[in-house]
């Protein structure tokens, strides 16, 4: 009796374990797909990045659920299953974000997580996502260290990393002003500002070795008062000033520097300047070199998807989508493409939209989704992205830079030059600093 009881319990336990692991591995049945979406809703990054990202996410989810996104994304939701957003504030630092991530996974039971603007948060979340085996798509952070210093199975990043911002800026500068002799910088004193300056400096040393650094100003993040920095830059008489400032810091710098004539003396490069073209108005001088950290916003190629994103975003906001909105589109469309590729394979590789919508509750397990996501190429409003770095987990795309010119009182971007991914991004297996120092060979 005792033996039989033990065997019965063991059998039941084994059956339960088998049923659980089978469900987790083969396919997941669900009425809807819950997506945890993490973006800044408070703090300095909320206005320029976080809130536009949330608006874009809400607009995209509404459009996806209604099946209104142009082909190849016209299947409702993800493979017929409607999406539900769980939005979380990214403010509060990495420790808080790790707790929030754990809560999203274990209490909110989200199926996937899309999020993170801060590079610090991305570096902190990636190993936790791996530990919790939760498919996570990093949508906006730029640090190349995520996949250059580690390898992840459950983590993807659907936008290119930030190395290309500095490399393309130097390539563009040297095309426009090959006689540059001196350069300086003003960047925020934290990971993004320091990395951006270091990449720019290294790229200048590689492509224009006779140019020299005059000054590198590193004001505190959120400083707001730049009087002394502007004086130092004016006195440096640099041919070029590089800046990766963003948000209120960038706006404050421009408000204080333009009346002092700093940019009449020096060529300004704003690697993340695109979202501020219209906000700064008269304080955005003609001739400023601006980037959008990819072919986003004004640099996005004309396409049905780009037109769609503009229209969808304008239902939520009274302005055009800026680059964080494009990054959100990349994340949702990339995850959808992978999900549906895996689901079609699940359905025997036959059929398409109709077959998927007929079986909305059927979806791929994480392993199938990951296999479909790795190395995937997919279209987006910013152009085509290919998950070719980080063992198929890191997207690469080309990028573009341009120069501001006021036309009829409106700031426009002219002289746009595009750079293919291989000209601005290191190949697989090579770190960004090593690649830049080695002359950025394709």
């Amino acid at each position: 009796m005792g033996k039989m009881f033990v065997r019965a319990v063991a059998g039941l336990a084994l059956a339960a374990v088998a049923a659980y692991s089978g469900a987790a591995d083969a396919q997941q049945k669900r009425d809807k797909i819950r997506i945890g979406f993490v973006t800044f809703l408070s703090g300095p990054a909320a206005g320029p990045f976080g809130v536009p990202a949330r608006l874009a996410a809400e607009a995209i989810v509404e459009q996806l659920n209604a099946g209104k996104v142009p082909a190849p994304y016209d299947t409702k939701g993800f493979g017929g299953a409607p999406l539900e957003l769980v939005v979380i504030d990214e403010a509060g630092g990495t420790t808080k974000q790790v707790s929030e991530f754990r809560s999203l996974v274990s209490r909110q039971n989200v199926d996937y997580v899309i999020g993170y603007i801060s590079s610090g948060d991305c570096l902190a979340i990636a190993p936790v996502a791996e530990e919790m085996k939760k498919v996570t798509v990093l949508f906006d952070c730029g640090t190349p260290r995520v996949f250059e210093e580690a390898s992840y199975r459950y983590v993807f990043r659907t936008r290119p990393h930030a190395t290309m911002d500095a490399v393309a800026a130097v390539r563009y500068l040297l095309e426009m002003k090959p006689a540059v002799k001196t350069y300086g910088g003003i960047n925020q004193n934290y990971a993004w500002g320091q990395d951006s300056w270091n990449d720019f400096d290294l790229s200048m040393k590689a492509l224009k070795p006779d140019a020299t650094v005059t000054t590198s100003q590193m004001p505190k993040f959120g400083s707001g008062q730049y009087g002394a920095e502007i004086s130092a830059l004016l006195q440096s008489r640099s041919d070029v000033i590089h800046s990766s400032l963003w948000g209120g810091d960038l706006e404050a710098l421009m408000m204080q520097a333009v009346p002092r004539g700093l940019f009449r003396r020096s060529q300004l490069i704003l690697v993340a300047g695109e979202p501020y073209l219209h906000r700064l108005g008269a304080n955005m001088p003609d001739g400023t070199i601006v980037g959008a950290r990819g072919t986003h916003g004004v640099f996005a190629p004309e396409s049905t998807l780009n037109t769609w994103l503009h229209k969808a975003y304008r239902t939520k906001a009274d302005h055009d989508p800026n680059y964080p909105a494009y990054s959100v589109a990349l994340a949702f469309l990339g995850l959808k493409a992978a999900f549906e590729k895996a689901k079609l394979e699940q359905l025997g590789g036959k059929g398409g939209k109709e077959e998927m919508e007929k079986a909305p509750g059927v979806g791929p397990g994480d392993e199938q989704l990951i296999a479909a996501f790795e190395g995937l190429s997919f279209d987006s409003p910013s152009g085509r992205a290919t998950m070719s770095l980080g063992k198929g987990h890191q997207a690469v795309m080309g990028t573009a830079y341009g120069t501001t010119k006021r036309v009829g009182g409106k700031v426009t971007v002219t002289n746009i030059k595009r750079y293919p991914a291989e000209a601005v991004t290191p190949p697989e297996g090579m770190s960004s600093p090593d690649w830049i120092k080695g002359g950025m060979k394709k």
Binding site: M218, G222, Q225, A228, Q235, A252, M255, R260
Partner: protein, 298 residues
């Protein structure tokens, strides 16, 4: 123009700004012994009110020069509304409790005001750049400075002189000094301490809001500016000695000059320089440079 002169001018301008943002903090501490963490939020509230008042003025097509009056009016408005509300509605209930409790109470006010500002003004950055460029620029050597910076310097000097004269030369100022020295004895000789507290706190809030209102034309007003300012203001008043007007002025000059020197000569240590000076001062004089000797009470 040589670098030394640029450092001095940049230092003076930054010191003036620091003094305006810190003087209200030290005034409240001097009289009420409250380390007002909400000072940063009141600064932010002043900045937001300035964008609203100034923006309205300019949108109506009134003469732009009047926008300066709107900045001051915004600060007065914030002071008269928020000052009595916080002092009568909350702090009055806490007097007599430990200073740490009052710090926590003002920290709670800081958090509440942060969220209320977001509710009222949203998270998008606001700006009112017109007053900054309205007065043009002036040149010293090869460097151009906006005349608005000169206005900041003059306002800070005016505030310092006016406060010093008020405290030293007027009856009300002497009443205030009596409360600073000993609340109980001041009360025993018939001074209405409760009213002194109300007026002082309102004046402190007004000064915080004035700092925000005068800064608004030079920055993008957005969530987060409160926290940045409160840290700097604390550094200034701690160096000078909490509660000392002269200390706040000297602290502002020291921090302003050291920061300007670091930016020009050694930009890598700019972030560190202000706090290094603060640490150095506290090692030598733990209560700050201008702290008055405390009488031992039995």
């Amino acid at each position: 123009m040589n670098q030394f002169l640029a450092i001095v001018i940049d230092g003076i301008i930054y010191s003036s700004w620091l003094f305006i943002i810190a003087v209200g903090l030290t005034l409240i501490y001097g009289v009420m012994k409250i380390l007002n963490v909400a000072h940063g939020s009141l600064y932010a509230l002043g900045a937001y009110a300035a964008t609203a008042f100034g923006g309205y003025w300019l949108a109506q097509g009134y003469p732009p020069i009047g926008s300066y009056g709107m900045l001051v009016l915004a600060a007065v408005f914030v002071g008269l509304v928020a000052g009595p509300l916080i002092e009568r509605g909350l702090l009055r209930l806490m007097y007599g409790k430990d200073e740490v409790v009052l710090v926590l109470v003002t920290y709670a006010v800081f958090l509440i005001l942060e969220d209320m500002t977001k509710l009222a003004f949203g998270v998008d950055p606001l700006s009112i750049p017109e007053p900054y460029g309205l007065l043009g620029s002036f040149e010293i050597g090869e460097l151009m400075y906006p005349t608005y910076s000169l206005v900041l310097v003059l306002v800070s000097v005016f505030v310092a002189v006016a406060l010093a004269l008020f405290l030293g030369r007027t009856r009300h100022g002497k009443v205030l000094q009596a409360v600073i020295h000993d609340r109980e004895i001041a009360s025993a000789v018939g001074i209405n301490v409760s009213r002194v507290y109300l007026v002082t706190f309102t004046a402190g809030v007004m000064l915080a809001a004035l700092g925000g209102a005068l800064t608004a034309p030079t920055i993008s007003v957005q969530p987060g500016i409160a926290a940045e300012v409160i840290v700097l203001a604390f550094a200034v008043v701690v160096i000078g000695g909490l509660g000392s007007l002269g200390g706040a002025a000297l602290g502002a000059v020291i921090v302003g000059m050291v920061r300007a020197w670091a930016v020009h000569k050694w930009p890598e240590v700019e972030l560190f320089s202000v706090y290094a000076v603060m640490a150095l001062v506290l090692i030598m004089r733990p209560k700050g440079l201008f702290a008055a000797p405390e009488a031992r009470k039995i």
